[in-house]
Structures are given as structure tokens and as C-alpha cells.
Amino acid sequence: MNTKILSAVGISGLLMAGGVLSASASASGYDLFKTSVKKTQHVNSFTANVQASLKDNDTVIYSVNSLNKENLKADSGSSTVSVINNGQKSNVEFYNNNQQSVVKSSKDNKYYVKQEREKKWDDSKKKHEEESFSAQKQKDIEAIFDALTKNYQDSVTSKQLPNGNTQLELDLSKNEIPAVGQAVMSFFLKNLDQQTGEKVHEGFGPLQFADLKPSIPQLVKNISVSRVDLKGEVNPDQYLTGQKADVYVSGTDASGKEHNLVLHISSNLDNLNKTNASTIDLNGKTVVKVQDRHDGHED
């Protein structure tokens, strides 16, 4: 090989290496996200403050605010949920441990109690074991996840917040959202009426939650997800303590009116590994016992 060829190959090889190395150095926001997700998976207990709201052309049509205390090790949890649906406010409280679940709604002052059966407790235990993957399986899933998200990894921006946490953000505009996401969202919105019809029996025994369902405008045309903004907050211990998602959907309904829907969900984790679920003392309270239905599909 003569020197000209050799030097051309050498120089281009060096440049190639430089290109690859300079490109791979910038994906740190994504790496921090992965580390924090892996770490947060192994949390035993937490307090989560979850808020969600749905806006239709800038009017809030539905909002949920809940405070959940979960202790996975003791299999107990409690949550208070308040829902504002079309201006009407209602509160629901849930308590559950491995023996019973209790539900209290602001509609009446009765406490609905369902005894957990032995079998179900076994099932959930088994399920929990399945959830913790083997190291190899986790690595495979990670590799696939990496390959699927490679075009988004470098769009994750990170910012240092004044409280010491790091904020990660992924802001996707319409053309960056994969077609599958568009398809699922538009399918969901176009078929809303059929879904609510089927699930009208959902509830906890005699307690029905039908009035807590949001009334989302029925979109028929030009449905598209115009923007998705995801934010995560990682604390100095590398736990993912805050998550926020804003989804913007636009479309027109049957009468041709244009709707811009904004779904906002945020969740803040707190008291990691230090949370104990609230308990309820049923003494002196009106208790309604709820039986599992025995017609094949219980719950």
C-alpha cells in the first residue's frame, strides 16, 4: 500500500473515531434517567402525590388529586383521591392491607369493606416475584429499550434545579412522536363512547363510580397528538422522585368544532423507604360488607 492511500485511510479513520466518541459523550441525561428508574424500582415504600387534569380548549373539565401511601413490603396502602368532574367535587378514600380493602366515598358515610381471600394474596405474591426480573432478562430488556429509543436519547435535556435535583426533559413535537403512539391515541379517542358503555358497571359493590368518569368530547376527524412533553426529576440519591407528562391532542368533533385537549399528569414521590400506610379504625362506623361476584369474572 502506498503512503498516500495509507495516510488517507489513517486520517479518515481518526476522524471517524473522533465523530463516534464526540457523539456518544452527549447522552448523559438518558443514562441518568435509566439509572434512576432502575434504582426507584427497588423502593419498598413511598408516598406519591399524583395529580392529573384534562383541559378542553383551556377549560379544565376534569381533575384528580390524590395522595397515595404504599408499603410494598407489608402489602398495605392507603390513598385519598379527590375528583373534580365538571365542577362537581367528590372524595374517595381507599385503605388496603393483606386482609381487607376499605373504601369510603364522600357521597355517604358508610365504609365498604371487602375481605381479601387467601388465594388472591398468594396470586399477588407470585406476581410480585415475577415482576423482579433476573439480571440477564433485565439487561436484554435494557438493550432493546436502548435500540428503540436511540433517536430520542440525545433529545433528553438535563438541567440542575435550585433544590439540588436534576430535571430531565424530553419534549417531542408532532413529527417526533412515533406512528404507533399516534395510532393508539386516535383509536382510543375515537372509540371512547363504546368503552364507557362497557365499563358502566365498574364499582366497588353497591358503590358506583360512573359519575367520576370524565366526559371527553367525542373527536372524529383530524385527530393527532401535537406535542408530548415529559419531565423527570432525579434527586441527589439518584431516585426518580418527580414525573410529569403533558400530552397535547387536537381534533374536530362531529359538528366540526375544533378541540385542543391537554392532559397533564404529575407524580411526586416522597418519603422513599420511610412510608407507612394510614390505617382506618372501623369501630363505631357503618360498615357495608362487599362480596366478590361469583359469576366467573370477579373484580
Partner: protein
């Protein structure tokens, strides 16, 4: 330029090449109404006029175009050697450098022509059949198609270098396809290694859309261009030293 016209004619006047160009143009035109019907029947909107060309492009760059590129390259080099027509070219008073250059340029032009045809027909199809067609979408589509030329050409230059060892068109094609599939597998299974292959960038237009011109995109640009330079040089070297 010397011999480019000659090579271009050889590439484009083949019956198979004409058929493939026509098919490339027809596929998006047919896919548009089919998607329209499916979306109406199952009531979802995955693709609208704005995103349809990009969806077509993502399919084209991951399967269709690498295949067609491999086919063209195996014809231009190994195929001609097999048919013994390359010797006629070599006795003309043109340097091997110029012959190699003209073959590379005409392959690049062929790839550009394929991209343009798919681009135009998918934009048309999206505008006619699907709702929500915008000027912004048109602009994104044209830029994305043009950007896709670079990673595909990098892949093509690698094929061009490697088929120098193969004296039969069909074997060169099979080899190129297997090589491409292997690179795709690496892409999914070994993300660390994948960064060193041009297949990592086949849908890099998505990265341009997502984040514009940042360090990563600049790095990948530098990588792809130097990859092209390296395999062009190596390909030429092998071609010039080859005995026919």
C-alpha cells in the same frame, strides 16, 4: 464527466432498473389509499398527510433502499466482471481512478433518483388521500429524504469495497444482503458496537428533526463523511490493484 454518462446509461437502461424505479414510485401511491381505507374502517389515525412521507422513508431506508443499492453495486462491479464486459472498459484510455469515480458517482445518482421518486410520490399520495397535509410537513419530508442519502451512500461505499473480492453478481448481492442483516442485528443486540456502523444512522433524519444540529448530529456527520472517505479510498485501491 468522463465515463459517468456511460455508467449512468448502463445502470438506468436495464429493464430491471426501470421496473424498480416504477415500482418505487407506485408503492407509496398504492399505500396511501390502502392506509386511508384501513384507518377509516378501524377508526384510528396513525398516519396523516404530514407524517406519511416520513413513514414511507423509514420503511425505505431500513429495508428497500439498502437492497436496491446492493443490487446496483453488484451489477456495476461484480456483474460486469462476470459478463467480462469490464475488460472493454479497462482498455479504454481512462485511468482506473476515473472508472471507479464514475461508477461511484452513477451509483450515488441512482440512489438519489430512487429517493426523489419515493419522496415525490409519497408526498403526492399523502396530499391526495390523507387528511392534514401541511407545507411544514412537505418541507420536513424533502429535507429528510435528502439527508437519508448520506448514510445510505456510506453503506453503499462499504459494499463497493467488499464486492471487489467477489467475481459474480448474484454472489455479491447475497453477500451484501447478509452483511446488511448482520449489521442490523448488531444494531439491536450490541448498542456499544452499533455506534461504529453506518446502519446506526439509516434513520438519522429523525435525529435531525428531533434535535437539530447539536454535538451528536455533528459527530455522526463527521463519522459518516470520514467513513465514506475511508471506504472510497480503500475501494479505489483494491480496484486499481485488481487483475482481470
Amino acid at each position: 464527466m468522463l465515463n459517468v454518462r456511460n455508467e449512468w446509461m448502463k445502470l438506468i437502461r436495464k429493464r430491471s432498473a426501470i421496473a424498480l424505479l416504477v415500482i418505487s414510485g407506485l408503492l407509496p401511491l398504492v399505500a396511501g389509499p390502502i392506509i386511508n381505507v384501513l384507518q377509516n374502517r378501524f377508526s384510528f389515525t396513525a398516519f396523516d398527510g404530514e407524517s406519511f412521507p416520513l413513514v414511507m422513508l423509514s420503511l425505505a431506508v431500513s429495508f428497500y433502499l439498502p437492497l436496491l443499492l446492493a443490487l446496483a453495486i453488484s451489477d456495476v462491479f461484480s456483474g460486469e466482471q462476470e459478463q467480462k464486459t469490464l475488460s472493454f472498459l479497462l482498455v479504454r484510455p481512462i485511468s482506473r481512478m476515473k472508472i471507479f469515480k464514475s461508477k461511484t458517482i452513477s451509483t450515488g445518482l441512482y440512489l438519489l433518483a430512487l429517493l426523489l421518486i419515493i419522496c415525490i410520490s409519497s408526498i403526492l399520495s399523502g396530499a391526495i388521500w390523507l387528511e392534514n397535509f401541511t407545507v411544514h410537513g412537505l418541507f420536513l419530508a424533502v429535507v429528510s429524504f435528502m439527508l437519508s442519502w448520506i448514510p445510505l451512500m456510506a453503506l453503499g461505499l462499504l459494499f463497493m469495497f467488499l464486492v471487489q473480492w467477489i467475481g459474480s453478481g448474484s454472489r455479491a448481492l447475497t453477500f451484501s444482503i447478509i452483511l446488511y442483516l448482520a449489521m442490523m442485528v448488531v444494531n439491536f443486540l450490541f448498542p456499544g458496537l452499533a455506534r461504529w456502523l453506518p446502519t446506526y444512522d439509516t434513520n438519522w433524519y429523525q435525529r435531525w428533526i428531533n434535535s437539530g444540529l447539536n454535538t451528536l448530529v455533528m459527530g455522526r456527520c463527521l463519522y459518516l463523511l470520514s467513513w465514506c472517505a475511508m471506504f472510497y479510498t480503500l475501494g479505489y485501491y483494491k480496484f486499481s490493484k485488481k487483475e482481470f
